[in-house]
Symmetry: C2
Subunit: 363 residues, 2 copies
DNA sequence: CTGAAAGCGCTAACAT
DNA sequence: ATGTTAGCGCTTTCAG
């Protein structure tokens, strides 16, 4: 029998070292070990070194599960996100994960079953004791609100908003973006406008539409023709098809996001042989990756992804460190990325760092 | 003093109910509550009902953190994934998350800092006590292997393989896919072939290249010209540029994945005015979302995403339920999705369900 | 079938 | 600065 096998259970392989094991080897108490791994704990350098040495030998790593049981902080953020075929979201997810991990949080992903309610997802999040929730898609039931408030976990919405006073939201300026696009299209001399909506219950789509429609009216261009793409590629393609098959074809269509705008370009070009940007103008919203690809050259309202993510993380951490703090409703300004998918207005274009944008001429 | 406030701490809001609270209200022991929430535990229907009722009243939810401390199962799977701008990965992630949640597991996402080693990521995964790891990108250091083995947590690679005997991997048939593409291109009458590699240390890129190159030689087409796109859109674009600027232009290029192939199409069409599929053939690998978009019509070796994900989940769960089981090395067959980006061979095409594929004529 | 009691690995008073 | 003690909320023997 090996001399050091005191009371090791007859398991396969060496047990995972605990703080006790480290304490024994270092000749200190278990709490000393805990302190050695706690930033700012009062411990002498010698003890810390002894512990570090023993820990290294044993390959010890603090068990975060045990820690969170007592500190009541799991350092895990639940992120609800579906619809990852829309390039905007994977980028957002990656950025969120990186930003949170910088602050010591990990992201637990909740995608939800395709058509299901968000309630089972909420249930899982709550059981797993996530410290906070960031929701970047899925529409939340009203239960969500109260359950999270009861559980005392902050909820931050990204790219959507809600009426609830207790839920923070970070969006870009959807209304202003819609209005800017209306002005841009009007300045470009378009007369027959169309709008392609996302989901009817999406605040984001609503805001963009409102901004667009109101500004259009202000420019004396009446009400745009309206189709619904449900944020889905195939649905958007179908919607575009109906738009282009109608007797009076629009000369410009604003799609509530890039994913649908890309579908629209595909249909216009491949099925109707239209030269996008000359025979028809298509504008999107997001500035997701493929928008900038040369074959698309999609003119779109650019949502500042990094800035939005920073705000999300800031809002989350703020409520985490002070639970009594108010929910915020942050609107991050974006800008119009002008490329080739829409006819250009004669004036107002600016180029900086190789990027072209447009601002309405001063009134 | 309210009659029922026995010893509640003077906190804000109602405390989150624990099994003890439920037990008290139901008039049973705390272990009875535990049993009521454990499938297959021996408990009478009456007790179960009493507990359920009390739990409902209190909004009780078992605390998974506490549970996992004692069961040593967190029911959390760590998924390491970066490079989400390649559409294949977000889809994979979504599918993984759904498949795992069906089996009672949640996914914790690890993206890693852009250029950093995978070691700090590993550290976090271990501290969080994930039950298993699935790695869909990032190259793992050798430490990874031994650390995970020590910690007793299974590692499953998706879309890459490794030499280690203890690590499972699920890939599609990269070699065969490369070979099939070579045969397809040869049959299409192409003479000047080129290959665009991903990362040099990527087993996936290597396998695809090997299959391609060997088959090409067998068809008497010599060694293809070789460029490196590093799986990156801009790098791939640059590589394509150099290919098309060279004195002898290739008439077909096989890119190690769709993301690069899409970049190649962009450059060929937008910068060189080439009609892709007639003046030059471009073939990819993955069949990621945009490949099927009409404007691209990318001919590509389709990796069966759902099947691969099912295999990943199966391999993970197998090792979880029997830690002594062997690591597997599964190769899932794919098929050639023939579209318009490459010139068609005169024979061998088959259409089924609106999808076109190609098989080499029998020898 | 049920309750009492012993911990899972750790942090946080509280003494010293 | 350090050790002792008491749990965090739960599962799991072990008696009965």
């Amino acid at each position: 029998m090996a001399p050091r096998s005191i009371s090791r259970a007859a398991e396969a392989g060496p047990r995972i070292a605990t703080a006790h094991d480290v304490a024994r080897l270092a000749g200190v108490s278990q709490s000393a070990v805990s302190r050695a791994f706690t930033a700012g704990a009062s411990i002498s350098p010698e003890t810390r070194d002894k512990v570090a040495e023993a820990a290294r030998k044993l390959g010890y790593r603090p068990n975060l599960v045990a820690r969170s049981l007592i500190t009541r902080r799991s350092h895990v953020i639940g992120v609800a996100m579906a619809y990852l075929e829309n390039q905007f979201y994977p980028r957002a997810l990656e950025a969120l994960s990186q930003a949170f991990s910088t602050r010591g949080y990990q992201v637990m992903l909740f995608t939800g079953k395709p058509g299901a309610s968000s309630d089972p997802m909420l249930e899982e999040m709550l059981r797993h004791k996530v410290d906070a929730l960031v929701m970047a898609s899925a529409s939340l039931s009203s239960r969500f609100d109260v359950e999270c408030q009861n559980a005392g976990i902050p909820v931050v919405l990204m790219n959507r908003r809600t009426e609830s006073r207790s839920i923070s939201s970070i969006t870009s300026d959807n209304r202003q973006g819609g209005a800017l696009i209306a002005a841009f299209l009007a300045a470009g001399g378009h007369r027959h406008l169309a709008f392609m909506a996302g989901s009817e219950n999406s605040s984001t789509s609503q805001d963009r539409e409102e901004g667009f429609t109101h500004a259009l009216a202000a420019h004396g261009l009446g009400t745009p023709r309206r189709v619904v793409g449900l944020y889905d590629f195939d649905q958007a393609a179908a919607a575009m098809r109906s738009l282009l098959s109608a007797p009076e074809r629009p000369d410009a269509v604003f799609c509530a996001n890039d994913h649908m705008a890309l579908a629209a370009i595909n249909v216009a070009r491949a099925e109707f042989g239209l030269e996008v940007g000359r025979e028809i103008s298509i504008v999107g919203f997001d500035d997701a990756g493929p928008a900038a690809w040369p074959v698309f050259g999609l003119t779109t309202y650019a949502q500042p992804l990094r800035a939005m993510v920073e705000e999300v993380v800031a809002a989350t951490c703020a409520r985490l460190s002070d639970p009594t703090s108010q929910a915020v409703r942050t609107i991050v300004p974006g800008w119009l990325a002008v490329r080739s998918s829409a006819r250009l207005p004669p004036v107002g274009l600016t180029v900086r760092d190789g990027l072209t944008t447009w601002m309405p001429p001063e009134v």
